[in-house]
Amino acid sequence: MKNKRFKKLLDAILVPALAIISGLILMAVLIAVTKKPIFASYGVLFSKGFGCVKSGNCAILTTLERATPIILTGLAAVVAFRSGLFSIGQEGQFLVASVVAAWLGYSIHLPNGVHQIVIILACMAAGAAYGYIPGILKVKLGVNELLATIILNTIATLFIEYMVQFPLRADKATTAHSPLIDKSAELATFMPGSKWGVGFIIAVAAVILVFIFLWKTKMGYEQRMAGQAKRFALYGGVASDKAAIRAMLISGALAGLAGAIEVLGVHRRIMTGFSVGLGFDGLTSAILGQTHPFGVLIVAIIFAGLKLGAQLGLQLKLGIPRELGGTIIGFIILFIAARKFYEGNITAIAGWFKRKPNQKMKREGG
């Protein structure tokens, strides 16, 4: 029994781990092309992504800060995927909520402590509402959620840009951005030098809550049954339509929470170019993390670290373009997509080990 659990864990980790290692190995080829030292590059990538030179100057803290929205949008994707909905609308829900956070941050004035909570709740409601649209379209009209969310993402990207350029624009002279939010709306940070703070704690709490929701509650059970085996759920009396709507509401709320934290904890405003694809990073980390909350947590941190290391280390220290970080992540995704290749070979290798003693026995016997 213990053995089996270990095997299950190994199965879950093996493919992503191999993919990450393969991606990093392939990175060496690209660095070789730029004629930079390969091993030094790895060192810099890791120290600037995950290292801690001296207290108060820890790259890992910045990594955790950057991982926060990816964790939350990743969780949003997990809830949708586990419920059988291929929703990629996290980016759009995240952006809509960001607009709400930036607006409520300066337009209403509440005491510290209340202000953040009000904004966070409003952002979650906004994300949920934006998630409800593809949900209800799917249930009532059978509209494919993938197509609906693609379109809604585009709408949200244009919407935030419009809001920044016109209604929420703070200053006509400079580049477009909204006014800074009130001090009372800011989320606390822990260490000077990074924006790592309360937001990350909320994200980790969300990881645990999503895990409990999906695997320990009645509703989560319904979500998963409807997601894994639609006919079975119908047969057992699970209301699949309700489960689908619920999935999109929860998924949207989590993406909305990410938007709130990104605005209140990091940027304190929205500006032109705010959309950098954090929702899509979350989507990817959900897939790489085996659509499991804990997997998302780990993958999101690795992602954020690789990006940061590429930006601060490779680019600033060695003059290697920081896009290399994105390229590595691209490779990793490619290797995950080619997982059949690993799985086939893992089974073959395992079988080879298993059969060897047998053949030996036969040879000795005969």
Binding site: K216, T217, K218, A229, R231, F232, G237, A239, R355
Partner: protein, 519 residues
């Protein structure tokens, strides 16, 4: 008699599932012989035949045809060596004619033009030669299943096969069609063709085979001349213990009406009438069998009663209460249990654990959840109790079920459905694809439930199952009830005639009759 085909020491181990599917299996077929191959699910019959047909590569062992060792790497090699396989699920192009299907890939003209006329002539000659009349111009999808199977056999014969593998050929046939197939098989053997006859049904083995080989757990248990064996003997060899082949049951003690269907009509996925205006009752303490050839509305009828599909018209009542528009959950709460025909996709979720499969119909009970939280401990306790009560082998609470055998999977479904003291049980093809040991278990359990006072609606295409379990038989033909019979004065022939859309006039006066109108 010369030996046409010999398999020696065939061994196959599947890494992925850790199963020794074939363990030094020996098997041979003589020229002009029908050699039946029987065994439970997972005994290794299919693996053995797939190795012979070149679909799987054996780890060890050799194939000898007419005294010469051959290597078969794919189906083409098999055909070149005179081996032909008639699959359980036909591999025909439904929109092509009989002749086009038979000549597919071996069309007579080498130029790119196909002569319909010469194809038809070839097929006609072939059919005459083997005394298997077919209309070369008929489109395959319009043919009855038995006729389609005949086309499959002709296809194999046209490719000059001398050794025919028939993989569960009777599973989809009506009794009359089975009877005809048996004659065809005997005739082929007279023409010195060799036939491997794979089946679950031991009665057929005795009817058609010269010899029979039994496999169990990947090993060949034994080979016997048909004259030296009987059904109990074969069942014992298959299962490894004594098996009760015919369930013994006392006469039904009819109680009140549990379930009633009034003038029910249902359409299928294409919007065509699948069930038209049927009415019947199921009483407490009786098993009502719905007989019929597959595809005559059984699936739709069951889905409507269980609440998975909405009906076009009519009423459904459980214990006098109208459930016509109730949800699945409401029906289950009023005592309906449902053993579905597709246990892999409908009855179970193979991707999750045993526990989560067992609570699908009752996770809302206060025993299993409180304030929206699942009570893990009492769920695993329940799982353990179902495992014990229904002796589900190789299953543990908290573990996955995807590797379990068909028999054990069905035990999970049956265990779940019957552990809630249901008052009305819908059992749709409850023993499909199961081996004799598991069939015995399911039958015994259903009768126990009947004796406890439940009403059982048994839907089955197995005439044998209908005859041995039911107290009353309704025959479904093209969505209508073609006839109703009391089992005590019904014969298999009567039911068979009704199943084929015919009428019987000489039976009991209460028998309700309807014409076989086209829907």
């Amino acid at each position: 008699m010369a030996i046409a085909l010999e398999l020696k020491g065939i061994t196959k181990y599947f890494n992925s599932t850790d199963v020794q599917a074939n363990d030094s299996v020996d098997y041979d077929v003589r020229t002009g012989e029908v050699h039946a191959l029987v065994g439970e699910n997972g005994a290794g019959k299919t693996t053995l035949m797939n190795i012979l047909y070149g679909l799987i590569k054996a780890d060890a062992g050799e194939i000898i045809i007419n005294g010469e060792k051959v290597i078969i790497n794919n189906a083409d090699d098999a055909i070149k060596n005179g081996i032909g396989m008639v699959h359980q699920h036909f591999e025909l192009v439904p929109s092509f004619t009989v002749a086009q299907n038979i000549m597919l890939g071996i069309e007579p003209n080498s130029a790119s033009f196909i002569s319909q006329k010469s194809e038809n002539q070839i097929v006609k000659d072939l059919a005459d030669r083997f005394n298997l009349p077919v209309d070369p111009n008929a489109v395959v999808r319009d043919l009855p299943v038995g006729m389609q199977q005949r086309v499959e056999i002709l296809k194999v014969l046209q490719r000059k096969a001398k050794i025919l593998i028939l993989d569960e050929p009777t599973a989809v046939l009506t009794p009359q069609e089975v009877y005809e197939l048996m004659a065809v098989v005997r005739n082929l053997s007279k023409m010195s063709y060799s036939i491997v006859f794979i089946t679950h049904k031991l009665i057929e083995v005795l009817q058609v085979a010269d010899r029979v080989s039994v496999m169990r757990n990947g090993k060949m248990v034994g080979t016997k001349n048909i004259t030296d064996t009987d059904i109990p003997d074969l069942a014992r060899m298959m299962v490894g213990r004594e098996v009760l082949l015919r369930v013994s049951k006392t006469p039904a003690k009819h109680g009140d009406t549990i379930f009633e269907a009034r003038d029910v009509s249902v359409s299928d996925v294409n919007g065509l009438a699948a069930i038209s205006h049927i009415s019947f009752k199921v009483n407490s303490g009786e098993i009502v069998g719905i007989a019929g050839v597959s595809g005559n509305g059984q699936t739709e009828l069951v889905e409507v009663i269980s609440g998975m599909k909405s009906l076009d018209g009519g009423e459904l009542l459980i214990n006098g209460k109208d459930i016509t528009h109730s949800s699945v959950r409401e029906r289950r709460n009023s005592g309906v249990a449902h053993i579905p025909e597709d246990r892999m996709k409908v009855g179970l979720n193979l991707q999750t654990t045993l526990d989560e499969n067992l609570i699908i119909s009752r996770y809302n009970d206060s025993e299993f959840s409180k304030f929206n939280f699942l009570l893990g401990r009492s769920i695993s306790k329940f799982t353990r109790s179902v495992i014990d009560a229904f002796s589900i082998k190789a299953a543990e609470p908290g573990e996955g079920i995807s590797m379990l055998s068909g028999g054990n999977l069905q035990k999970i479904v049956v265990g779940r459905e019957l552990s809630g003291e249901p008052s009305f049980i819908i059992a749709n093809q409850p023993t499909r694809g199961l081996d004799v040991g598991s069939i015995e278990f399911v039958h015994k359990t259903l009768i126990e439930e009947r004796d406890k006072g439940a009403g059982v609606l048994l839907v089955s295409v197995e005439l044998d199952e209908i005859m041995s379990l039911s107290d009353r038989i309704l025959v479904l033909y093209r969505g209508e009830i073609q006839g109703e019979l009391e089992t005590t004065n019904a014969t298999e022939e009567d039911v068979g005639i009704l199943m084929a859309g015919g009428k019987i006039n000489h039976r009991s006066p209460q028998t309700a009759m309807k014409g076989g109108k086209l829907p």
